[in-house]
Structures are given as C-alpha cells and as structure tokens.
Amino acid sequence: MTGLRPDRPPGAVMAAALLGLALFAAPLVGLLARTPWSRIGSVLTGPVATDALRISLLTSLAAAAVATALGIPLAWVLARWEFPGRSLVRGLVLLPMVLPPVVGGAALLYAFGRRGLIGEPVYDATGLLLPFSGWGVVVANAFVATPFLVVTVEAALRNLDPRFEAAGSVLGGGRWRVFRRITLPMIGPSVGAGVLLAWARALGEFGATVTFAGNLQGRTQTMPLAVFVALEQDRDTAIALSLVLVAVSLAVLVVLRDRWWRSW
C-alpha cells in the first residue's frame, strides 16, 4: 500500500456523508445529554430495570438459539437446493425483516394465540399457551431475528468455493459429514456474525413482542417494552435501559464491522 493512498471523496460527498452521520449521531447525543448519570446505578438496580434486563437476556439468548437451530438449515436449503418456488420461500423467510413488527405480532397471534389456527387445538388438547408467557416472547423474538441469520449464512454458503465440498465428497464423506467437517468450519465466522446479529435484533424487539406476548413486569416485559412504558412516567429508568440497549447493540455492530459486508 505504499503511496497508493485512496483518494478522499469529493467535498459534496463528504458533506452529504457528514449530514448522514449527524442523522445517526444526533439522537444518540440527545440521549446521552438526558442521561441521569449520577443516578444511573440506582436506576439500573431498581425492580423494573432488573426484571427487564433478566427477561431480555433470557429471551433474546433463547431466541438466538432458536434462530440458529432453524436458520442454518433454512439457509442450507435455500443456498443449495434448487426447487420450484425457491424465491417465494426465501421471500417468506425474509419477510419479517421488512414487515412492521406489530403486524408480525398480530399474525403470530392469529396462528399461535388461544383462538389461533394452531394455538386453539393445542390449547384445547394441552392447556399450553404461548401468548402472555416468556416462551411467547421467545417466539416473537425468533420470528423477527431468524431472517438476519438466514441471509448472512445463505450468502456465506453461496460465496463458498464448491470445490472444497466436492473434494470432501470425493474423499468419501456423506453430505451430513461434509457439511459438519468442511462447510460449517468454513462459514463459521459468518454463522457467528449471523447469530450475533439475530441476538442483537431479538434484544431490541418491541412491536411483535408487545402484540403477541403482552407486557407484564417480571414475566414478559423486556427492556424495549419497559422503556416504552417507563418513558411516560419514569424517564430515568427508560433512558438508563435505553443506554444499555444502545451500548450492547453498538458493541455487536462494531464487532461485526467487517464481517457484515464481507459476507454479502
């Protein structure tokens, strides 16, 4: 790289880029300016905050696990198997990325609610109910988070040189064995990135959660829900929890800095 310094973009581009940066930085600065720094410790150890932190941590980790267990097979099928309607299936899987989460939550209710298509027979037979429970939060979180893992892993599988896997097959590995021994290690970093991304998305989930799982402190109230409800009365708690969310999300994205666009 001696002497081959890339050119600085033209002034107009720099100006627009700065404006864009301000759009993202200004709200963060606003949040920091409102933060009750002297009270943040006591606020974050209060009952609402500790319940929300615990529930968010448990449900987002569970959702990331569900996303991994279902997302990798989905990515595998989408990347490697040509079948009619594959684009449609991919669209269906990625839909939660663009769907308003509230709509997703309502749709989940119509499927898995007590009067839902699947929820009703299950409830009648077993008495089990997803809405208004921690598992409901996990399902809502997994619904919105899994697509992030699927796109990341599918892109990695497509970018993989097929000769490695071919060589593995020639050497006598079955499909399952080749996937585990050759493919998975090679796309490992992308899987890691996808899991992190899915986890971060689950951690920030609001609309689908409140619509499908409701909002009850100590049972279903995650950090974003606590922020939303507290914003109107207990602003210190709302801002302190928001800061935790911002810090965690920012950390995840910084860790992913290269992985995110390289794998695309």
Partner: protein, 249 residues
C-alpha cells in the same frame, strides 16, 4: 380528508417545515392530540366539524394520554390536547403549554369487558384475582390503567393480570380476539365494539374519568384550534359524544 391534503400534512409533519401547514389553498389545518379512548368520537367530531366549517381541516392523532402529553412537552406541533384524565392535563398546564384553562367536555367510567359470549364465565371484579383466567389491564402509566387499579383497590381485589397493555385500544383488541378472558376498559370502548360484552362495576367501586380539552400554547393557529374546541362543547359536539357512550357535563 382527501389524499392531497393528507399527503401535504404528512410531508409537512415529516419535514417540520415552518408555516407549512398554514399555507396552501385548503385553509387552516388543526392537529388534535386525543386520548386513545376518544378515537371513534373524535373521528366523528372531526368529520362533522369539517362539514360545518369547510375552511378548517382537522387531523386527529390518538394514543395514550400520557404518551401524547410527552410528545407535546417535547415540542410536537399539536394545536389541541384532549386527555383521558386530569393528571396529564395538569402537567401540560404546569409546563405552560396550555393557552387557556382546560375544560372538562366529557365523562366516562370503567366496565369489565369480556369476549362476546363470555367464554370464561366472568361475573365481576372478583374474577380478576383468579390466576387461571387470562386477565388484562392497561399499564399503570396510562389513565385506564390508573383508573383500573383504583377500581380494584376500592373493591379490595389484588388482581392477577397476565398483561399490562400500553393503551386501552390494545387491551380491547386482545379481549375482542378472545386472547384475554377479561379486562377493565372504558364504557365507551365496549359500546364501540360488537365483539365484546360489558359487565357493570358497582357504582361504589367505579371511578369517573373526566376528559379535559385545551388549546395548546404552541399552536400557530389558535383561532382555528379554538373553533374546534368550541365545536366539541357545542350541542352538536355533545350529541356526537353521547352517541359514542360518553356522558357530557
């Protein structure tokens, strides 16, 4: 509202262009922030007002009174605020955001809402303590949640809620869909829905909700805003509110 003014309104709101809403050929544009429980009544009121006074357009934005209050305190360009309780209005007045003294224009009280057919066989407030039922309240931070807790406390009942919904419409929807067995909502919400039934709460436990309305100090068009508030309190306005189940003072 026709699409063009709506588009103009959205663009104006999105860009926060000064004087944008007041310009144009369609006359003045009043933005009303109204409590979620006023959704249907204020849609009717806005329509009737626009028909009676074609020079002024009214857009109603509804949400939890507390959420709207926060938006106003953060500088939302609203002209009129109608709250579902006096506590939120008091904060608006104390912040110097009210252009005049608020007036109570409607009253409401709570009923127990159950899905049509009352599948869980709910009979009264006592059922709110039954853990095996799916019970919903509004969050304590919004007026219907505050009132609901007052009613239950007055009746000496410690509720076992399964969810604290962020506003009364969200709670009503979950009862309508049969996802909840019962919840405490406004009388007017039950009147507005064909898919829920109301169970009366004894008067000695019930709470009366007063709805105050005010023109906001930050309004760029206080006369048009005042005209809408006057309409809400007029004979026509009162009839519309009564048709939606409110009592009017």
């Amino acid at each position: 509202m026709t699409p063009a003014p709506l588009l103009r309104f959205l663009v104006c709101t999105a860009l926060l262009l000064p004087g944008c809403a007041a310009g144009g050929t369609a006359g003045e544009h009043v933005l009303v922030f109204a409590a979620a429980s006023l959704t249907d009544a204020f849609a009717d009121l806005a329509e009737a007002f626009e028909a009676a006074d074609p020079g002024i357009e009214v857009t109603v934005s509804t949400g939890a009174s507390s959420a709207l209050r926060e938006q106003i305190l953060e500088g939302a360009p609203a002209d009129v605020y109608a709250s579902a309780n006096e506590a939120n209005m008091r904060l608006i007045v104390e912040a110097g955001e009210a252009a005049a003294a608020p007036v109570v224009f409607a009253r409401n009280d709570l009923v127990i809402a159950v899905p049509a057919g009352n599948p869980a066989g709910v009979t009264g407030l006592g059922d709110f303590a039954r853990a095996e039922l799916l019970i919903g309240l509004c969050a304590a931070q919004v007026p219907c949640g505050d009132f609901g807790r007052q009613v239950l406390a007055a009746a000496g009942i410690v509720p076992e809620p399964d969810t604290d919904e962020p506003n009364v419409r969200a709670l009503l929807t979950k009862i309508e869909d049969g996802e909840l067995d019962a919840g405490l909502v406004y009388r007017t919400d039950v009147a507005a829905s064909r898919r829920v039934e109301g169970i009366e709460i004894p008067n000695r436990f019930n709470v009366e909700a007063s709805y105050p309305i005010v023109v906001l100090a930050g309004s760029a068009r206080p006369e048009a805003a005042g005209a809408f508030v006057a309409f809400v309190r007029s004979e026509n306005g009162r009839a519309i509110l009564e048709a939606r189940g409110f009592t009017v003072p």
